[in-house]
Symmetry: C2
Subunit: 288 residues, 2 copies
């Protein structure tokens, strides 16, 4: 490397910590950041991420109770940015098992635990920001992982399904102040399922069971899963996601398709999801 | 009977048709109306009510497709008032199997079927009103069946549970425009379940399963089922209800109690429900 950019590089050089939870997203974010020339330190969360998945990179495993140790390490490394990505079961405050280095931070989190997921995540973000770190989202580093506007595959919603999508998004907006689920299913001209603590997968399966039991009828082209962030949700740390499993489950439940808020929902590998949607006869639509 | 009231009696004499669905409520309404001196004709809905339960009274069985025949009969009897009470699986328009006498009424119902339960019930009410009938609610005839304000048993909600109840009622109000479920469960400082097509019982069982799987923790005094009508819901034909099963299921799921909107939710036999709530350690609270 040479030329004028060379001397500027150390100043512009991105030093990033990726706090990795469950799933494939953390690895994709790591790879995208490295491809952009960032220096990446991976903190694999014990019980959620497998450090061996990151063996090719600079990785260490941390329990949640080792927050103090993690902070010391990223400060030592001069890391100024952090991204938290991947699934994590909602921890209980009691199960944090904090190390000595972490104890002093507990009062901050004790408050954060007294509320919904949103509240907890806001507490986590404000904590890291209070430590002088810039909190980035997956979309900042890997925008390709996020749903674009329009169809992901070749199937498109019917006019009826578009009306259902509009109803579903209206419902999710109305639910926003309550810090609960980000998904619902609209079918047969009405809302038939609303997600809360059970999660999207369980909600889809519930509808499949109602259909199977003859308690709900889905006509052709009917049945839409809608998923969107809450209004005001911090997409840096809590972007809703769909993936191949979502498509497979939706197809098994007899739904016609999936609609997500474009630019605000993780879809992972777009091409793979489109292929699966096509094969399953489902539409996957990003709605602007 | 004698005196001035006597001559007025035939004019004031109530001739009532009770359209009876599933459960114990129709029988209680019949008995209350008879106790008040009304002349009662019971239409037991095939597949929902068992005519033999009404053998002591004036009863006939009708399918939904025999609406025309039913109307002819109540007109012949000079009946001017109708009450519809008891559970009925949401019928499909295709399964109505209308008799000839019913065919002329179908266009009205074809429209009513294109929407949620509220929409369908509004269609049913407007139909009977259009036929010159006065549509009454169970509370008009048997107010004792409805939740009073205050505790039904000896247990009372804690301050934490009261906050959960308030959150739950706010959520139900926000959901009102969407014509879906009338119940939710609040626990662990957040809304953990919202009812839609699955019904209240299935929603309670879902929470019990999440608790059992360790995905949700309920502290002592935590976990409240809230149930209320939607804003603008026609309580004459669609009053939400709880019963002994609700209490039993809520206790099995580990909830601390049940809160219902006072005056707007059927509770059946108050004394029996209070005894069961006491034995189960649950509060059942009517909130004004």
């Amino acid at each position: 490397m040479n030329g004028p950019a060379d001397t500027a590089a150390p100043r512009g050089h991105r030093r990033l910590a990726v706090v990795a939870g469950r799933g494939e997203y953390p690895l994709r974010v790591v790879e995208a950041a490295l491809a952009q020339g960032a220096e990446v330190y991976v903190a694999a969360l014990a019980g959620a991420a497998d450090p061996s998945d990151y063996a090719a990179y600079d990785v260490a495993e941390y329990r949640l109770g080792q927050l103090g140790r993690f902070l010391d390490e990223i400060k030592r490394r001069g890391i100024g940015e952090i991204v938290m990505i991947g699934g994590l079961p909602r921890p209980s405050f009691g199960a944090l098992a904090p190390e000595l280095s972490t104890l002093k931070y507990l009062p901050h989190f004790a408050r954060a635990f007294q509320g919904g997921d949103d509240h907890l995540l806001r507490g986590v973000v404000s904590f890291f920001e209070g430590q002088g770190l810039r909190v980035l989202g997956p979309a900042d580093l890997a925008p390709d992982l996020v749903a674009p506007a329009g169809a992901l595959g070749r199937h498109r919603p019917t006019a009826g399904a578009r009306a259902a999508i509009a109803t579903g998004f209206e419902l999710l907006a109305a639910l926003s102040p309550f810090d609960i689920g980000q998904a619902a299913i609209v079918a047969d001209h009405r809302i038939v399922a609303v997600e809360a603590a059970e999660g999207t997968d369980a909600m889809i399966e519930r509808i499949g069971a109602l259909v199977e039991a003859g308690r709900l009828k889905l006509g052709k082209g009917d049945g839409v899963l809608v998923k969107a962030p809450k209004l005001g949700q911090d997409l840096r740390v809590d972007m809703p996601a769909i993936g191949p499993d979502t498509v497979t489950r939706a197809a098994a439940a007899g739904l016609a398709g999936i609609a997500v808020r474009a630019g605000s929902v993780l879809v992972g590998d777009r091409a793979r999801l489109a292929t699966l949607a096509d094969a399953s006869g489902l539409f996957v639509e990003g709605v602007a």
